[in-house]
Symmetry: C2
Subunit: 356 residues, 2 copies
């Protein structure tokens, strides 16, 4: 049997509830496709701060390094919002990304049947949406030097946005490879009319593009893209962009799926190991109520089979099960329409397992 170790980091807020459903689906798919899966739990984020006074304990990091894949829920909450930077739950995400060198963040946005109703967009705009944001995840302004000075006129805060050519090259190359296996269109998003790092980004894209003559490339300014992604979402196939722009645009793309509760993500490095997590946050306002949408996490598990276990068949089985469940009208309250019955987190997870 295929043996795999999965590090499970439930995190804060709704993290534990949704990860439970994700793990449940992983288990079911694992049995069906002949895997022996080992699940090891670790502390991360606010919970880790409370118990161990650090958002990303060394033992959690070691666990992740020794695993084939990491399944993460979400971190953060109002309780830690006023903590100093080093004691904020988000630091755990940054630490995991950087330490495991997970430079490629894949955030696909597709529309599931029956969900157009719960989107803010018109159905005809959404029809056929299938885009993928490939976000650089280990550099840029997230990891540049930052500091605050005191001047005569008050405080002065500085952040630094740095990109090295090789950092751009590896993410761009990954995006081209992915586009090649899809509809062969790549949109590179930057702010080259203002940023020096964007001008370097654009140069690297143009250089790498020569190696992929069959992929159609376009450059788009981030402000324009923020508009076009909503105006004509079906024009996009793969979008590649730097860390901060990717953060903004992928959350925005959640609109296309009907709910941010639907958006999965994979964070990949050079090898097979990956980190899988929903794009949404820890949603402290609904934590513990059993109403959170587990689909983003379940779809992240599908991505785990695809990218870390190289098992497209199992991935498609999970995605197919989700599609069937939605087609049957089952959904959580965030995407429920008038006249439909909202299921609990657990009930929806069970439905997906059944459909599998």
């Amino acid at each position: 049997p295929k043996q795999k170790r999965i590090a499970v980091l439930p995190g804060d807020g709704i993290g534990p509830e949704i990860v439970e459903e994700g793990a449940k689906v992983a288990k079911a798919a694992g049995e069906q496709f002949g895997y022996t899966l080992q699940f090891d739990f670790g502390l991360v984020g606010g919970g880790a701060i409370e118990r161990l006074k650090q958002p990303l304990p060394q033992e959690t990091l070691t666990l992740c390094r020794e695993s084939d894949a990491v399944l993460l829920g979400a971190v953060g909450g109002p309780r830690w919002d006023r903590n100093p930077p080093e004691l904020r739950p988000e630091k755990a995400l940054l630490g995991l990304r950087k330490q495991l060198d997970l430079f490629a963040n894949l955030r696909p946005a597709t529309l599931f049947p029956g969900l157009a109703k719960s989107s803010a967009l018109k159905p005809e705009v959404l029809d056929g949406v299938d885009l993928l944001v490939v976000r650089e995840l280990t550099s840029g302004i997230y990891f540049g030097k930052q500091f605050t000075e005191q001047t005569e006129r008050g405080a002065k805060a500085t952040d630094t946005l740095v990109y090295e050519e090789h950092e751009i090259e590896r993410i761009v190359r990954r995006a081209f490879e992915i586009a090649k296996g899809r509809r062969k269109k790549l949109t590179s998003v930057d702010k080259a009319n203002i940023l020096e790092s964007s001008r370097l980004w654009r140069k690297v894209v143009d250089r790498v593009a020569e190696e992929y003559p069959d992929v159609q490339v376009e450059h788009m300014l981030v402000d324009n893209c923020a508009m076009q992604i909503i105006r004509r979402p079906t024009d996009f196939d793969v979008i590649v962009t730097e860390n901060m722009f990717g953060d903004i645009l992928s959350d925005e793309a959640a609109i296309l799926t009907g709910s941010i509760g639907m958006l999965p993500s994979a964070s990949l490095g050079g090898g097979d190991r990956g980190l899988y997590e929903p794009v949404h946050g820890s949603a402290p306002d609904i934590a513990g109520q059993g109403v959170a949408n587990p689909i983003a996490t379940i779809l992240s598990v599908a991505m785990m089979f695809r990218h870390s276990f190289q098992d497209d068949e199992a991935a498609k089985a999970i995605e197919g099960a989700v599609t069937d469940v939605f087609a049957s009208g089952a959904r959580t309250m965030d995407v429920v329409s008038a006249g439909e019955l909202a299921l609990s987190t657990e009930e929806l997870g069970d439905k997906v397992v059944e459909a599998l």
Copy 2:
């Protein structure tokens, strides 16, 4: 009679066409409300680069300084896209903003009657949208140090995002003042979980907020805002944010108006002088065809009367004329729906003058 000097900078692409309609409407409103308006034309952007080898000639800057208001079309085009930073048309915008100290950029997004049809969003989501993005315009990553170094591993590009407390304070205070005169809700957008400058921003907002107890304040992360602005646009009144986030979010908000051809802007400093321009760009693809939407420019002229001439009555008259024109079904091709007749730039400008 009220004497005012208006510096007119048509710029590139569709700039001249739309500015002509804007000036026409300014003239008509001026006559109606007892003004003597003087229009002086200046070179800016690509045209200035061609003739004077600089995007913002000294005489243009002097003209603006000596005027009560600046009416600008748009700058830029593919012809100058590969120029070095100092010879790019966009530098003219940055130069004008910085030199005239126009730190407050107001970008209102409202839906005109009959335009919901041409929006990507569902009519029920758009119903009642009336939001204003207040963007900081003279600092942040647009004006920080930037450079590229050569390292052993290739090029390395750096941009710097700097905010000083007093820069944040003046824009935040302006936003509170504006919110006070509207629905009294202010959303401050930042990325405080990552950026040092955002944490300073948030601190300043909280401090200034104490002086405006009647204004309801919320903090929102930029990624979340990029989603919420589409999902529930009517929840927003005034949004205040830093330069780059404001650039992205205001273009995105254009979606709410049906077309980016509808979005005006005012850039204000400490005094009455302001710069007025459409949010959209120079659209080289449709330049010279007489099909561009002049409404963003005409609405910018309305803002000119309001903010630089302190004449709310004249501003409302222009806005009312635009509303009437749209209600009558007249529109340009970017917002035309099936079965409707698309007018030319000039015809639509004439309609607004008539309605006045």
